[in-house]
């Protein structure tokens, strides 16, 4: 019966990892809903949810239960196939994008496994691009939802979304090319490991946020626009468009859009952590302590909190301001950042 005892084959760890990421994303989304409501309440001098569970912690689960028992409505003139395909596209791409994001260094899980396992679902050597490719598929869910609903508010939301995503995808992509040049790799694991070097004598502090401050700002701004969050939440601007692309959705089809939005936030934060914030490295904490994944989760949590903070602090832009900002400020800034980084690597060997 030796196969019942550790070390187990590494495949068990990978299956467990897959389940952890899947369930972790769902619960991260639920947790974010709670944080969002609590924080919004705090900023508006309310108390927020308090009734379900301690501190209202179980509120998101109560919400999901409520949504499950709601009737699923469909407008009579809607395109049935696309109407139901759209939320699936949104949710699937949101989950899939996280599959190539590493959340910690390779580990044997305290000797449970026979060989070290990478803490990510799939290790791809063009991981950065895969995240982009899948995220760029996510916009179809929103556009199709807008079109298939056959409602003018939904259609306007869908059109706005596609225009916004196209405008910001360029700066989003350009902003991280600087990191790719510095790390000389497209694998997220290798990029994180490159940030484990020392900077100015401080060990594990060569984070790219210090070498690429402009790149990080552009990435974060464009990331907020890509995930349709305030102050760039035009696809669902409720004062003008009711609820934008998901106006006509109810019950669990609506819940899928909601889930996708929060998972996309988690993915953008995780990618930003891997690319700019040193991933699982922290100054003076040697990797041998084995708490890399905790550091990673803490950084992602901080970025997610920043998301909520921004949403309840800044008012929404005007639509023409959004376009002007994207094309005339963000894109030139990312080009300048790229050229400066390339020159720095070429002439000063950064």
């Amino acid at each position: 019966m030796s196969f019942l005892l550790p070390p187990y084959p590494v495949i068990f760890g990978q299956i467990a990892m897959f389940l952890v990421v899947l369930l972790g994303l769902v619960h991260a989304a639920a947790g974010m809903v709670w944080v969002e409501r609590k924080e919004a309440a705090r900023m508006q001098q309310r108390v927020g949810p308090t009734r379900v569970g301690p501190f209202g912690l179980l509120q998101p689960f109560a919400d999901v239960l409520k949504l499950m028992f709601k009737e699923n409505l469909k407008p009579g003139a809607a395109d049935t196939l696309l109407f139901y395909l759209a939320p699936l596209v949104c949710a699937t791409t949101a989950f899939a994008a996280f599959s190539v994001v590493p959340i910690g260094p390779a580990t044997t899980l305290l000797g449970l496994l026979d060989e070290p396992m990478k803490l990510q679902v799939a290790d791809v050597n063009v991981a950065v691009l895969v995240v982009f490719a899948i995220a760029s598929m996510g916009v179809y869910g929103i556009v199709l939802a807008g079109w298939a609903s056959n409602s003018k508010y939904s259609l306007l939301g869908g059109l706005r979304s596609s225009a916004q995503m196209i405008s910001y995808e360029l700066s989003y992509g350009m902003s991280l090319v600087g990191v790719l040049i510095l790390a000389n790799s497209m694998s997220l694991t290798e990029i994180v490991d490159a940030q484990g070097a020392s900077l100015l004598g401080i060990p594990h502090a060569r984070w790219y946020i210090f070498l690429q401050p402009l790149g990080f700002l552009i990435f974060l701004t464009a990331g907020i626009a890509e995930t349709n969050r305030a102050p760039f939440d035009f696809p669902e601007a409720e004062q003008e468009l009711v609820a934008g692309y998901h106006t006509e959705y109810s019950s669990m089809t609506f819940a899928l859009f909601f889930l996708a939005e929060y998972i996309n936030m988690v993915t953008v934060s995780a990618v930003a952590t891997d690319l700019f914030l040193g991933g699982w490295y922290f100054p003076f904490v040697p990797p041998s302590w084995g708490i890399g994944w905790l550091i990673f989760l803490a950084k992602v949590g901080a970025l997610l909190f920043f998301y909520v903070w921004i949403r309840w602090t800044l008012p929404r832009y005007r639509y023409d301001q959004l376009m002007t900002f994207g094309w005339k400020i963000l894109l030139p800034a990312s080009v300048i950042n790229l050229i400066a980084t390339a020159a720095g690597v070429l002439y000063f060997g950064l």
Binding site: D79, L82, V124, N125, V126, L129, V130, F132, A133, I134, S136, M137, V139, Y140, V143, L144, G146, W147, L155, G158, L159, S162, A163, M165, I166, E169, M186
Partner: protein, 175 residues
């Protein structure tokens, strides 16, 4: 090999459906599916970079614009009884043209298969990385690369010019 046939079949069937059905939105979506299948073929050829770029550029950026235009135009359905009864591909003109194309394709296939050198296995391929692609693109293929970018620039200038002219004539009309 199973995967190859799966992706190939997906690409062929979805490409056929792009022209075989009428709703332009579905055509755009099927074209995206076809691009996805193509990208799967690139993965099987051990070219992950090309596969991902295929998705980002074609499926992600260009097709969003296509969808955008189709949705904005929102082509009204003005089908006559004849239009409904007879599929566009089944009308006399397209039928003749299609038949001619099919004959041409068959002749070409026979010619290509009969005159092709016997198949031989490839040697081991060098690993294709982003570095090698970038290096060849900016050394060996620098000229075609630059010419292509010039072409795209011309197209952009043309589009801007056409948009500007419309605006101009509109102003004159007001006066």
């Amino acid at each position: 090999m199973t995967l190859f046939y799966l992706f190939a079949a997906l690409a062929v069937v979805s490409s056929l459906l792009v022209i075989a059905q009428r709703n332009p939105i579905y055509s755009v979506l099927l074209l995206i599916a076809s691009f996805g299948a193509l990208s799967g073929l690139y993965v099987l050829l051990e070219a992950p970079f090309a596969a991902v770029i295929q998705i980002i550029v074609y499926a992600g950026a260009i097709m969003v614009l296509f969808l955008f235009v189709v949705m904005l135009l929102n082509a009204p359905q003005e089908d006559t009884e004849y239009d409904v009864r007879v599929h566009p591909l089944m009308r006399p003109g397209p039928l003749k043209f299609g038949a001619a194309l099919a004959v041409l394709l068959a002749v070409e296939l026979v010619w290509a298969l009969s005159s092709a050198p016997p198949a031989s296995a490839f040697g081991p391929l060098p690993e294709i990385t982003v570095t090698t692609i970038g290096r060849t693109l900016f050394t060996t293929y620098a000229f075609p690369f630059e010419v292509t970018s010039l072409l795209i620039l011309v197209a952009m200038v043309g589009a801007v010019l056409m948009a500007r002219r419309e605006e101009h004539s509109g102003e004159r009309g007001k006066r």
